[in-house]
Structures are given as C-alpha cells and as structure tokens.
C-alpha cells in the first residue's frame, strides 16, 4: 500500500514528508528530481517513476508535486485518486492548496494525513468525516482555542464511519434549509483550420451544495435523461433506481460535493457556440509575420457568450506582436510566448477582431510549427447539451427546503488549429 508521501515545490524543495509504514529516506526523491529535470515542464513529469526498490507515483497540483512511494504492487490509479483526494482536502480545509498554507497549518496537515491513511490503507477520506475528526482552522476558532485551550480535534466517534451512509454525519441542523445544484458543462473540442469540428465532446458535472437538516432523502429527475448514457455517480447515488427509472435518488452528504459527472460524445449533440476565423502566417524573409483573428457566434442558443479569451501559443522565434484589437485587450508575453486576447462579451453585431504584425528574431528561419489557439468562454444559464433538471423532491424530513438549479457552459480544452 501507500508507503510514504513527499511534498515538493516547483523549485525542487522537499517541504513535507509523511511515512505510514517504516521511514523511507528522502533520497528516494532523487529519482523524481532526475525525471523532473528531464521533463523540462513540470506538467510533463511522468506519473509513475520506477526506482530500483520503489515506485514513485506523483501528481502535480497547484505548483506542488505530491510524490507517493510504494513498495509492493498497488493499483496506480488507487494511489493517484488518493493523492487527488489529499489535494482536495487541503483545498477544502485551508481555502487553497499551496506551499504557504500547508506550511502554516503543518500540524493539521499531519493530523489529516494520519487520519486519511492507516498503514497505507485509506481510512477516512470523506470531507464530512474528516471535519468531525479534525476541525478546519478558522480565524475565530484559533482565537477561541488560544483563549480557552480547547483543541481542534473532535472528541467523539465520527458517527458516519459506522453507518451505511458513511458520507453523512448524523445530527445535522440548519435554520435555513437549502439545496443548490449547478449543472456545469465544458466543451472539449478540436477545430481544424477550416473551422470543421475534428472532435467535440461535453464533460458535464452536477455540483451540489446541500445544507439540509436531519436525514433528507432526495430525488432529482431530468426532463431529458436520455441524453445521459455515460455517467459516474457519487457513492451516495442509488444506481439501481437510475437503471430502472432514470432518476437520481440519494441521501446527500452535508455541504459541497459533486453529485455526478457525465460525458456526451455524440457529435450531433455537441453544439459549438463560436467560430474563429484566423490567419497566422510568417514570411519567408524579413523576420516577420501577420496575424488576423476574428471571433463570431455560431450555436449560442440565443444566449450571450461571455468571458471570451483567445490564447495563442506562438513559436519560440516570435519576439513581439504589434496588433490592434477592435474589442478587449491583448498581451503578448515574450517569455512564455503566449499571446492572450481578453475579449469579454461577444457582440454579434460587431465581431471582435485582432490583427497586426508579428516580429521574429532577426535571421531566424521561418517557424516550422503551426501555432495553436485555445479558447475560453462562458455562457450563463445554458447547458449546451440541452440537459434540464425537471424537479427535486425531498422525503424523510418535514420542513420545506429552498431549492435552486443553475446552468453554465464553459470551454474546456477548446482548441483551434491553424
């Protein structure tokens, strides 16, 4: 099972280590550093690294490498999922998962890691249970603690750990009972030069924020559940009812959680909200090039496209860009070679355009590779797949909760080739 964990920052400093079995010397990380150096970019470090006696499985989150050490055959996905859970827990506890917050809360971090694994076996990874065992730091509590001397460790047995619904604690009480659901869809797409869709799919999630007293039993139904043929559910969802009735029936965890994720790959269901007309060319001589990009609406279902950002990864030889934008602002970073054009709201009457010249390193040959455009956008109040929640019913409790559903569509890995 998982033997040890090392946290390493972007500069290569090892700033935290935790061992769940015998202590493994931190020199084992040398193999990681070697791989890190070879990969050049931190994103490209291979997730599984083999050393003579151990395997290092790592993830890279928020500029921190979570490097775990295993000695026997352990499913790598198991380890990676666990590491993600650790990062999420830190995020959940400290508001952000960064080197500074981890160092500031090092004792809590250590207590958390101790509760999350026992002998390398996952013990308590549900945020609800962890919070009963170890209270997250708040300014108020740390003040109270210093004054009264009380601790941030729970005194009682976390009830959820024993019940058949380990994700929910008992005795939850709210004055305002509310349940909010966010349907978030991300479009992953590759468009080719001519604007034809090479590949497109939708990654959807339904995030929930449920603050209900007692033991509510919820049922969520859709207008068009047939859209969903590839789904992953939170453990609380009763799969049998989904199979037979296509409704989501569950006793929710307390607080924020992801109820389900889904995946729609049928091309005809994936609408592409915008089109991009672009021409980026480099001249054979003169060390320069031209750039001309126009963005316009395509299938927006009558909604406004907001937060539109175009990112261009320029070839290394591009030194600077002299452009003019009819809307929004642009910025070219000569170090990262990234051209960022922040457009904002897309106005269908007056299409935003960015054009001008690019200057290259003098004497450099014409770049061989084609730059690629990445698009970011957001459409409020729309799930691009057309998914709609029909109703939410609650059983098991008497009060009337406040309910709400929000939809939003975003660009995921949305790429336009040139």
């Amino acid at each position: 099972m998982i033997h040890s964990l090392f946290l390493i920052n972007n500069a290569g400093d090892l700033f935290l280590e935790k061992h769940w079995k015998s202590v493994i010397s931190r020199s084992v990380c040398d193999y990681f550093f070697e791989a890190r150096e070879k990969a050049v970019e931190p994103d490209n470090v291979p997730p599984v690294i083999r050393t003579p006696h151990h395997y290092l499985i790592n993830i890279y989150r928020e500029k921190i490498f979570f490097v775990s050490v295993i000695q026997t055959e352990v499913p790598p996905l198991f380890v990676i999922e666990f590491l993600h859970r650790v990062a999420e827990t830190f995020q959940d506890y400290f508001g952000e998962c960064s080197e500074t917050t981890i160092k500031d809360n090092v004792v809590i971090v250590y207590e958390l890691l101790e509760e999350m694994l026992d002998n390398g076996f996952p013990l308590a990874t549900e945020s609800n249970i962890l919070k009963e065992l170890i209270r997250p730091p708040t300014i108020l509590r740390s003040m109270v603690n210093t004054i009264t001397g009380s601790s941030n460790v729970g005194e009682t047995l976390p009830t959820g750990q024993l019940s058949n619904i380990p994700w929910r604690r008992a005795g939850v009480k709210y004055t305002n009972n509310e349940a909010y659901f966010d349907v978030v869809e991300e479009i992953d797409a590759i468009l080719d030069k001519s604007g034809t869709t090479v590949f497109a799919e939708i990654q959807g999630v339904i995030d929930a924020c449920v603050k209900l007293s007692g033991m509510p039993d919820l049922t969520l139904s859709f207008m068009n559940p047939r859209l969903l043929d590839d789904v992953s559910f939170h453990p609380c969802v009763r799969y049998k009812r989904w199979e037979s009735e296509r409704v989501i029936s569950f006793i929710p965890p307390d607080g924020n959680f992801q109820l389900m994720s889904y995946h729609i790959s049928a091309q005809n269901l994936v609408a592409i909200p915008i089109y991009v007309k672009q021409n980026i060319s480099f001249f054979e001589t003169g060390s320069s090039g031209r750039l001309d990009i126009t963005v316009g609406p395509k299938q927006t279902m009558g909604k406004t496209v907001e937060c539109l950002v175009v990112t261009v990864h320029m070839p290394k030889v591009v030194l600077s860009a002299n452009l003019s934008a009819t809307q929004g602002t642009y910025n070219y970073d000569p170090v990262t070679k990234i051209l960022l054009w922040d457009i904002g709201k897309l106005n269908p009457q007056k299409l935003p355009n960015l054009k001008g010249s690019l200057s290259l390193q003098s004497g450099a040959p014409k770049p061989e590779e084609n730059p690629s455009l990445n698009i970011d956008l957001k459409i409020q109040q729309l799930a691009i797949s057309g998914l709609k929640v029909n109703r939410l019913d609650m059983y098991g409790e008497k009060y009337k909760p406040f309910k709400g559903v929000k939809y939003v569509t975003k660009a995921g890995k949305f790429q336009v080739r040139t």
């Binding site: 490209n44 993830i59 090092v106 002998n119 460790v153």
Partner: protein, 907 residues
C-alpha cells in the same frame, strides 16, 4: 506556527527549551510544546532526543494531545526501543477504554510501532479488538494484523491471527469485510503460495454483498480480490459480471478500472453467442472513454491499460477513435500513449481520419512527438494495406517541409514500407535521394543507404551516391558502416562492371582498416563469397527478404493474457509480467478458458524487423548474446570458432520469465516423437568398379548414436576377407568409432549387413558439398574409394531445443543476410503432425503461432559441432506448399537443413 525550512536541527538551546515546556505543569503549554515538536518532526528535523519527555505526556484525557503523542511515538519508537516499552501499558489500557474511538486509535497506533520487543505485548489487546463489538474497532484491528505481519510474520501465524482475519470476511459490516480482504491481500503478497484468500461461492457472495455498501477504497480491494477467483461455470461468471457492472459508473477511476479488470477476465468464460456477452461489451466502452476526461495522470494509467484492452478486444473501442485524438495541451506522456492506441485502432474504415490527424501532429512543436507521429504514419501503411499509398504520399508531403528531423524519420519508415510492399513505391526514390545531404542521424543514413543498395539497378547514379558516403566511412556509426558495406556489395552484384573499384575499396575499409569485429567479419564473408562463388554470393546477398508485419509491436499473446488479469496494476502500466519487476513476486494469474485443453498455445511474434523502434517496440525482455564472430577464412577455423563460441554465448542467457514457463511443455503435449527417418540404402560402390564388391548403405541416428548401415555384397567368384574402413577428413569430423566388424568371410553371392557406429572426433576439413563423405574400404583384394552424402539430420543433436528467449534474441542477432528461404512442396500434413515428425529427427518446435489461418512454427536445430540453426516454417491451411526460412550464422548449412526438412516431411 512558523516553520523554518532547513534540514539541520540547530541544537542552540531549542531542544532544551522544548524539554522544559514539555515538562511544564500547565496543560496548555504542554500541548503547544508537543505541537512544536510534531511540526519539527514533520519537516524532517530530528527531535528524537525528546522521546522520554513526549512519552510522559501520553497519559492524558485530552484526545488531541494523545493523538499528537501517538504521532510522535510512531515516528521515533524504532530508534528508542527501550523507551517505547514505557508506552505499552498505556496502549493496553486504552484498548479497554469505553470509547471505541480510543480503542481503535490505540490498536491502530500499536501496530505502527515497529519494535520487535513490543509486538508480543500487543497480541492480547489485538485479539480482543479483532472480536470487539464495535465494527469500527474490528476494521481497524484487521489492518493491524497486516502491520504486525510485516514486522513479525511468524508471530502472527503462531497466534492464529490469520484465521481470525479470514473469519472477518464473513463479518456483518461491509467495511470490516473490505479491510479484512485488504489485509489478507497484502499478507498474501509476501506468501505467494499460501492459500490465504481461499475463495469459494459462499465467500464470493459475501464479497459481492459488501461491494455495494463499503467505501470506494474498500470496493477496490474487493474487486481486485474477486479478479483472482475462478468461477466454476459460465453462469456463475455471468452472475458475478452482472453484480460488478454497476461499479463502472463510479466516480472513482480506480474502482472503474478494477471493475473493468474483473469483467474483462470473466467475460472470457461467457459463450460468445450469449446476448449478455454483447451487452457487456457495449457497457465497457463508455467508462473507458470517461477515464480519458480525467486528470492527465489518471489518463496516463488509463491509456496504458486501454492499450492492453484494444489488443485483446479491439471491438470494444473500435468506434471511439476520436477520443484518442491528441490535444495541444496534453502532457507529452499522454500524447505518446494516445498515438500508440490510435495506430492500434486504425483500420480501413477510419484510416483517412487517422492520417489527417497524424499529419497535423507532424507539425507540432514537441520533437519527440513529431517523430513518433511520422513513425506512426509508417506503421499505418504497414498495418492497413489499402492506406499504404496515401501514407506514402503523406510522408512525401512531410519530406517537402524540409524539416530536418521529419525528413529523417520519414525516410526510416519509408524503408519499412519498401520492405512490406516491394516493387510498389520505388517511384519516390528520386525524392528521397534529393534529401541525402540533410541526413545526419545514423538510423536515417542507414535506411537511405539500404534503399540505394536494394534498388541500385533503378538508380542511375547509385554508385556515386554510395561513394559519397564512403568518403567518411570511419566516422560513420557501425549501423551505417554495415549497411554501406552490404549496399555496395549489392550494387556490385547488380552492376559488376562499373563498380569493381568501389567494392574493393569498401571491402578493404571494412576488413583491413576496421577494428570492429562485426564489420570485419561481414567484410570477410562477402569477400570470400565474391571471390569463390559469385553465383552463390548473388543468392545469398540478393535473396528475397521475408516481409515485415505490423505484429512486431503487439504484445505477445501469453503475456497479454496475463496482463489482462492484472489490469490496473503496475504490471499493466509497464506491460511486463508482475513477476518481472515487483519485489516479492505474485501468484501467477491466467485468464480462465472454458476449453483449456483444446486451445492451442499462442506464441510470440518472431518476425524480424530490421530496425525495431524502441519506443514502439514490444515489451520483450532483451537477452544479451555476445556477438559470435564467424570467420570463413579457412575451413579449419570455420568449425573451431563456431564450436567454441556458440555455447558460451548461450550460457549468458537469463532464466525465462514466469509467463513463459509453460512453453517448455509444448513438446510433450504434442505427442511422442516418432523416431528419426532413415533413408533406404542406396548403392555407393558398384561391383564392376570394385572388383566384385558392391556396397550400398545409408546413415541413421539412433538414440543419439550415429550409424552407417552398410550392405556388403560379394559379386566376385572368390571369398572376401579382411575388411576395413576409413574416412577422409570431412566437414564435421565424422569418423568410424571402431573397426568395421565383418566377422565371417564373405562368400560369393553373399550379402552381409554391417552397422558401423560413427564418432564426431575425426579431423575436420570443409568439403564440397558440405555433407560429402569420402570413404575408403579395404579387403583382401584391394582398396576401393567412393564418396557418399549423408543427410545433415544425422548431426542434429537431441538437446537442440533452444530456449525461447534465446531464440528470439539469436534470431534478431543473426544478420538478415544469413537468412535463406525455401519452399517445400506438396506436403499434406497439418502443423502438429509435421512438427511431431520433425521432432523425430531432432528438429524441435519451440513455438507455434497462428495468424489468419497460417501456422507459424519456430524451430531450432543444433548440430553436433554446436552450430545452431533457427527456422521458421509457415503452413497455410489448405496449401500443400510450406515456406521455410532458415537462419544460421553459418549460412552454408541452410541448404542442407532444408534438404533434411524435405526428406523428413515427405517420408
């Protein structure tokens, strides 16, 4: 609380200060001090000196303080074993605490104190906790057994904890079940042969019930455990599949992949015509696709496993090509894996799409990725015949970009395309030649030289081109030098008149001016071939080459089956058998087969590809064989060098990996060998030429002894006596093992049969033909000479079965120029009968593989003087003509080996 990020603990009084605080009367101060100690420990500082002071804080009612002290104890008990004993009492007491949280915490911490002296004190509390009324305590205790086992396995067995643990599999609480399974699995890993997880239908049912109710991690343990079970029949298999299928919709990708493993393994047992089988296949695709939308690290592991799944069951994802299209911001490790799977899924139906993508990738920034994309285009051409033309034109387009590394990769793959489709795309050679100057990588240079040599007759200025390479001959890498040598010899054989000077030059560069034994040997072989027998040289050097196939980069089927049983594990990420790399090897798993006995053994691809692309290559363990120099300068040297060098090179071969062990049984499974074939006697010496003595005879190998069977007939008028026999020096040193025993005088018109045992210890001289034997027979009348030819099978020794790994390596190691191909016509035997027959003559089948109705037999033969001959026999059902490819370091013997094949198979 600030943490200073430095590794050396400065003893400038800080420890002293903390010591004082720890011993303070004030609770709060104490706790703060422990916190400070923990913080220091966390960042790797050594605070072990405070051990006694921290342990003193242990007896407290404050849960937080207790936990902090426990944390400290776990870390430092090992270095302070004597002190740690002080803590035992507290543990024993805590295990009786009314609060189950405290009991569980105590039993959990106890197991983490890795001190031998303490462990025995812990047995009693642990035993109680395993039977605790509270499931939370039981589940914690289950893990504690695994911890204790890691420290002192014997103790755990003696105390009977393993049995208690097994009982917990039937516990009423699903989490206890999951933890018991996890603990047992971990213990079982260090005892590969123990029967700890004895699974039967009752326990399976318990596990399946617990599966629905336990945490995601518990589900992974249970699924992995289920995968080891062997269902009794297809109905049980189906019912398990049905109960596992809902896990495919779990949010945790590790649960999904473990479920995929169980399904992939058990569906093997389902009849293919069952409706459920089809349904299951359909259900597998969406979760696999979903894994690809997860974080890149998860994607990577998923892709490595999908790579296995598409090789085993391509139908699952054949319509999902698009999800493997590479995105600009995928990390490189994801990009490379996606590319690999795209090629595996490429078919006639989607090839246009794939090629368009690959061409796009070839203009990306990342050089490694671009290279692999170009190679992938070549692989597509070889895999999907209909696309070859399109691939070639795509490659030509890429060559036009003049991007240096793209051009070089393209030329390397075009060479492979030429080998796969000879005489089809030679029109592009002109374009290739234009780029000659830009090639600076050895592999590309070698490929280009190969092309020029192979098609020398169609390239007008081939001699000029090759000559231009010759100028810097000594600066080239060995690969290029060897290729250049061969290419120029080819050129010479095709256009002898104009290139004499060139070939002289290269031969002298390769032999006299080179220190490289490989190069020198090849040079000498060519030299000698050209000077003695140009016709033979033509046959050898310009021989038709076997076609290459795309299967070279498939994982061999036995390994694939094993890996399918290990989906989701490290083995599946590395595509190597688990036994090969995880310390403390695991139980060998197999896919269950309903028809195990009748199923033919699948075997590995052995086709040789001229330049296996390491990154794309199969995960076959490389065997290092020392290069054996074969020097043909003198006939004496010829045999000597081979006999002495060959066994040494084989001695260095490592043991076979676990997954391959069963291959050795193949010979036995086929049936008993039928015994070696003996040709009928033929007349060797005619009476009219030998004063009335007529000799006919044949050769036989019986139980490892070589015999010459002679019939002596007296056709003269007088009695013959005083027979004696002698052999001239011959290629393999055959000599009579003793005098010829003709005891009675031979009367006129009488025939006597004599069996003369032969030894191999005679003097050696190379004969022409190789198997010629000159014999002198003496009697009271005169001495008579005759010559006869023995079948080479006489020299095939009984231990000629080569290790499979060695075979693979040797096959690769022997240059392709040494390969000879033959047709054996009109054989109406199936492959099993044929290999059985051949085995009678010590031609051993090492592996058999069936591809598209074609049986490939891989065979080895060892001659008495230690020469190994490797052969590949292709048998197409319904086609009476077999194709035989023979490879040997001494290519002269191939012809004679072929004759033996024909002799044995036809009789």
């Amino acid at each position: 609380l600030k943490v200073i990020n430095c590794c050396v603990w400065d003893p400038s009084g800080e420890i002293f200060e903390l010591k004082a605080e720890l011993n303070s009367d004030k609770k709060e101060k104490k706790k703060e001090a422990v916190k400070k100690v923990i913080a220091s420990m966390t960042v790797g500082k050594d605070v072990s000196a405070l051990f006694p002071d921290v342990v003193n804080c242990m007896q407290t009612d404050n849960l937080e303080l207790k936990k902090l002290v426990y944390l400290y104890l776990m870390n430092y008990a090992k270095s302070q074993p004597d002190m740690a004993i002080m803590a035992v009492n507290t543990f024993v007491k805590d295990c009786e605490d009314p609060n189950p949280l405290i009991r569980a915490l105590a039993v959990r911490t106890m197991g983490c104190i890795r001190v031998d002296k303490i462990t025995e004190y812990l047995c009693e509390p642990l035993r109680k906790c395993l039977k605790d009324e509270d499931p939370y305590v039981r589940k914690t205790a289950a893990v504690c057994v695994a911890k204790l086992h890691d420290i002192n396995a014997q103790l755990v067995e003696d105390q009977g904890f393993l049995d208690t643990l097994k009982d917990l599999i039937s516990d009423s609480n699903p989490m206890v079940v999951a933890n018991a399974v996890a603990a047992l699995s971990e213990i079982a890993e260090s005892h590969p042969n123990s029967n700890l997880l004895d699974l039967n239908p009752q326990t399976i049912n318990k596990l399946l019930t617990a599966l629905n109710e336990c945490t995601e991690w518990g589900q992974i343990f249970i699924l992995d455990c289920l995968a080891n079970y062997m269902p009794r029949d297809d109905r049980e298999s189906q019912s398990i599949c049905e109960r596992v299928t809902p896990r495919l919709s779990h949010a945790n990708s590790a649960v999904v992949l473990s479920a995929v493993k169980v399904l992939m393994k058990f569906m093997e047992m389902l009849p293919k015509d069952l409706d459920y089988y089809g349904t299951l296949l359909k259900k597998l695709a969406p979760p696999l696709v979903t894994l690809l939308s997860a974080e890149p690290e998860l994607q990577y592991v998923a892709l490595r496993n999908i790579n296995l799944i598409v090789q085993k069951r391509p139908e699952i994802l054949k319509h999902e090509m698009k999800v493997f299209f590479v995105k600009y911001n995928d990390p490189i490790y994801v990009k490379l894996e996606k590319l690999d799977i795209m090629i595996r899924l490429a078919s006639q139906a989607n090839i246009a799409q794939v090629l368009a993508e690959l061409k796009e990738y070839a203009t990306e920034v990342d050089v490694d990725f671009v290279r692999k994309a170009v190679r992938a285009i070549g692989r597509c051409a070889i895999k999907v015949e209909q696309s070859a033309e399109r691939c070639v034109s795509t490659l030509l387009d890429l060559i036009q970009t003049k991007v240096n590394y793209v051009v070089q990769e393209a030329i390397v793959v075009i060479k492979d395309i030429f080998r796969k489709y000879p005489n089809k795309y030679e029109s592009v050679i002109a374009t290739l030649c234009e780029n000659l100057d830009s090639l600076d990588e050895p592999e590309a240079r070698a490929a280009m030289i190969w092309i020029v040599g192979e098609y020398a007759e169609r390239i007008d200025n081939a001699d000029e081109l090759l000559e231009s390479f010759l100028e810097g001959f000594h600066d080239e890498s060995t690969q290029v030098q060897l290729q250049l040598l061969t290419a120029i010899v080819k050129l010479f054989l095709k256009k002898p008149t104009e290139t004499q000077e060139l070939v002289q030059q290269v031969l002298s560069l390769a032999t006299q001016d080179s220190d490289n034994p490989d190069l020198r040997d090849r040079g000498y072989i060519y030299w000698r071939l050209l000077s003695t027998d140009p016709v033979a040289a033509k046959e050898v050097v310009l021989a038709e080459k076997p076609l290459i196939s795309e299967e070279t980069d498939l994982i061999e089927p036995t390994l694939l089956e094993e890996l399918i049983c290990h989906i989701g594990t490290l083995a599946s990420v590395y595509h190597k058998p688990p036994s090969a790399f995880v310390e403390g090897s695991r139980v060998h798993l197999r896919i269950p087969h309903t028809r195990v006995s009748t199923r033919p053994h699948p075997h590995s691809p052995l086709k040789c590809c001229p330049a296996p692309h390491s990154a794309l290559g199969p995960a076959i363990v490389q065997v290092s064989t020392r290069k054996v120099p074969v020097i043909l300068l003198g006939s004496r040297l010829w045999t000597l060098s081979i006999t002495s060098a060959m066994p040494a090179s084989l001695g260095g071969a490592p043991a076979v990996g676990g997954g391959l062990g069963d291959l050795f049984d193949l010979g036995g499974g086929v049936g008993m060998p039928t015994g070696s074939y003996v040709a009928p006697k033929t007349a060797w010496l005619l009476a009219m030429k030998a004063k009335g003595l007529e000799i006919s005879g044949t050769f036989a190998r019986r139980g490892g002894i070589i015999q010459m069977d002679l019939s002596l007939t007296n056709k003269a008028m007088s009695v013959m006596t005083d027979f004696a026999i002698q052999f001239n020096r011959n290629s393999f040193g055959l000599a009579p093992a003793g005098p010829m025993q003709v005891l009675t005088p031979l009367s006129p018109n009488q025939t006597i049969d004599v069996s003369l045992p032969l030894s191999m210890s005679g003097p050696v001289m190379k004969m022409e033909p190789l198997n010629n034997l000159q014999v002198a027979v003496k009697n009271n009348i005169d001495v008579f000479y005759f010559s006869c030819q023995y079948p080479l099978s006489l020299l095939f020794v009984e231990d000629g079965k080569m290790d499979r790994q060695v075979f693979l390596a040797t096959w690769k190691d022997i240059p392709n120029d040494n390969e000879a191909q033959f047709q054996i016509k009109d054989i109406h035997l199936n492959s099993d009968v044929a290999s059985n027959k051949l085995q009678g003559s010590n031609i051993f089948t090492i592996a058999k593989r069936t591809v598209e109705g074609q049986d490939m037999l891989y065979q080895s033969v060892k001659l008495t003087n230690g020469i190994w001959v490797l052969a590949e026999m292709r048998i197409q059902t319904g086609n009476p003509n077999y194709t035989l490819s023979i490879k040997c370091r001494a290519p002269e013997v191939c012809q004679f080996v072929y004759q033996c094949y024909e002799l044995v198979l036809k009789n």
